[in-house]
């Protein structure tokens, strides 16, 4: 005779409400799992997709994603000259916030040498890669653009020639690929009024020194204008059979730069920018699991307390302890498993709606289920303790 089910049938409204309540907590736990995986996936996706043999960045910097790195663009020629390097390609990456289709959007721009092939998108699901030196872009659909859309950025308008969804930036924002000069222009090119103002300020400063004539100042001015030929990293492809470590040491020794393999770049991200968020998410989901178990435990305890008189009667008429243990534990497991399944169904049907990528992994679901199951058993302990210490005398009005 399944006492637990009969009891829950009578209190099905309250039981369902509890299942939904605890289930929503499990939904958050599962969402946190997805967010945890998604955070790592997003943080590493661009590195994994770009995947050059070496990332060359400013010396002692862990750039270009984990830390800012700034290099003059022409450095890639020097890198190309290092023995063992087959191809060295400039790369620029930065986050911006610009109006797109009338809405202010936060996104990251990648500028790469569209003709060398390093640093660009690998899989275009609609349209094509950038094939011209200027005014073409490949974007992530999360930006809210479609193929053929014309998007004004800075001084120029760019046509969306391709769409890719293979990566987002490490903070989950959509990516926009531009040719290197276009990306540099969007980033560094000043507004015309600002350029004029700056020229005027410099001229006055130079002329005010009294050592230069206005003509000399005018001639000197271009040298003092801010340089837009700046990049963040140089992507290197090695010649076949070359030892990567040797080339990296060569770049570090002769060019005073830092060089990392893709694996090292991944580790830099994991131990750097991603580490605190990853720990935070791990802590959150642990706390939420504990809270879920505590709530389930209190609910089961309340369910048990309400049945104390019946439990006393059962004991008096000779029910063995296992009948009572089964009833309490079965209710606890029905509650936790029901809540888990509700949470699982909800998250599997809604994860696409979350603004950040939720990477739902079956392994994580299984581990959460095992923890929930163990939690269900744990949750029943309080109720079981109360049930087992109930004296049958209570049914007869004794203590």
């Amino acid at each position: 005779m399944d006492l637990a089910v009969y009891d829950l049938k009578l209190h099905r409204g309250r039981f369902m409400a509890t299942v939904i309540g605890v289930g929503l907590l499990f939904t958050i736990v599962l969402a946190m799992n997805g967010l945890y995986r998604g955070n790592i996936y997003e943080g590493l996706a661009l590195i994994n997709i770009t995947n050059p043999d070496l990332w060359v960045v400013e010396r002692y910097r862990g750039g270009p994603f984990n830390e800012q790195s700034t290099l003059p663009e022409f450095y890639h020629y020097s890198v190309k000259a290092i023995p063992g390097v087959e191809k060295a390609s400039p790369f620029i990456y930065y986050a911006v916030e610009r109006p797109i289709s009338g809405k202010s959007r936060h996104f990251s721009i990648i500028g790469y040498d569209v003709f060398s092939g390093l640093g660009g998108p690998q899989k275009i699901y609609a349209g094509m890669k950038i094939e011209q030196a200027h005014y073409e872009m490949v974007a992530h659909p999360k930006l809210g653009v479609r193929l053929g859309d014309r998007v004004p950025l800075g001084l120029h308008t760019y046509t969306v020639v391709g769409l890719t969804r293979e990566a987002v930036s490490s903070d989950g924002q959509p990516l926009v690929y531009l040719s290197l000069p276009d990306a540099q222009e969007v980033l560094y090119q000043k507004d015309n009024e600002e350029v004029r103002n700056k020229r005027e300020r410099l001229l006055r400063t130079l002329s005010g020194q009294g050592n230069l004539s206005p003509y000399q100042s005018e001639k000197l001015l271009p040298q003092l204008q801010s340089d837009t030929h700046i990049i963040n990293a140089i992507l290197v492809r090695l010649k076949p059979g070359v030892n990567r470590v040797d080339v990296a040491r060569g770049i570090e020794k002769w060019l005073y730069l830092s060089a990392f393999s893709t694996e090292e770049e991944l580790q830099l991200m994991l131990k750097g920018r991603l580490a605190s968020m990853t720990k935070q998410l791990l802590l959150f989901r642990t706390l939420l699991l504990i809270i879920s178990v505590i709530i389930a435990s209190l609910v089961i305890y309340t369910f048990t307390i309400e049945k104390i008189q019946s439990i006393a009667v059962m004991k008096l008429i000779g029910a063995p302890n296992w009948v009572i243990i089964r009833m309490v534990m079965e209710q606890s497991l029905l509650l936790t498993i029901g809540a888990f399944l509700f949470g699982l169904a909800l998250i599997h049907n809604t994860y696409q709606l979350f603004p950040r990528t939720l990477l739902i992994a079956p392994g994580d679901d299984l581990i959460t289920f095992i923890v929930a199951f163990a939690g269900g058993i744990l949750a029943s302990i309080l109720g079981l303790w109360q049930a087992l210490k109930t004296q049958p005398a209570m049914a007869l009005g004794g203590q």
């Binding site: 009969y6 019946s310 059962m314 029910a319 063995p320 009005g397």
Partner: protein, 234 residues
């Protein structure tokens, strides 16, 4: 045949100046088919005696012989599975009916049968029999909360009878019922004693309810102060 014999049963709660002698040298013998009443005012020790007879309270001294087996003496319960004795040989009827609220009438009667391993068609047939015997078969699928107090008490009686208990213990079974319904329950108990040959011990403080009982024991301050048999009752 003797079902229950109690010799020199004493129960002391506390010790020193807090010592309370709830029962003092109780002797009692109940045979099959006997209808026994334990009478007494509040605090007289009725419930304590019932708890000892129910095998859920350890006496301090004395001896309990149940169905020919000594189950309690000086050294305690002596390894007897008292819960098993309760589920197989004792039926309980309570003042507040104490039906399990989340089980239907049918399931309440089925429950003690399931505890002794009786299931399926055989168990269902036994439940039907009992409910018909207690004239409550039409309420079989009702939850206890949906039937009257008198009906609930009849279900409780059916539950107590389920395993052909040798001893039925009834604790103030009429206290929550009006006189007519109370009398009716008592009639049922008499019928059970007569037809089932179960020994029935009823704890009550209502003397109107004990007409026709075989033995009446009057308790006061933990002692039996009066004992009457059917022949001396009036």
């Amino acid at each position: 045949m003797e079902i229950l014999r109690i010799e020199g049963l004493t129960k002391i709660f506390g010790s020193g100046h807090l010592e309370v002698r709830a029962l003092e040298g109780i002797n009692l013998s109940v045979s099959e088919g006997d209808l026994v009443a334990l009478l007494g005012p509040s605090g007289s020790g009725k419930t304590t005696l019932l708890l000892c007879i129910s095998l859920i309270l350890d006496p301090t001294e004395g001896k309990i012989v149940f169905d020919g087996q000594t189950i309690f003496q000086k050294n305690g319960w002596g390894g007897v599975d008292i819960r098993r004795i309760r589920r197989e040989k004792i039926g309980f009827i309570f003042q507040a009916h104490n039906l399990i609220p989340f089980l239907t009438v049918r399931q309440n009667v089925l429950f003690p049968l399931s505890l002794v391993g009786l299931r399926g068609e055989k168990a269902e047939r036994r439940v039907k029999e009992l409910l018909e015997y207690m004239e409550i078969a039409d309420r079989a699928d009702y939850l206890p909360a949906l039937i009257s107090g008198g009906e609930q008490q009849r279900v409780a009686v059916a539950r107590a009878l389920a395993n052909n208990a040798k001893l039925i213990l009834a604790d103030e079974p009429t206290a929550s019922l009006d006189t007519t319904r109370g009398m009716r329950v008592m009639e049922w108990l008499k019928k059970i004693a007569k037809e089932n040959r179960s020994a029935v011990i009823v704890v009550t403080h209502d003397v109107r309810m004990i007409e026709g009982f075989d033995y009446v024991y009057q308790l006061k301050d933990g002692r039996i102060i009066g004992e009457r048999t059917n022949s001396t009752l009036h």
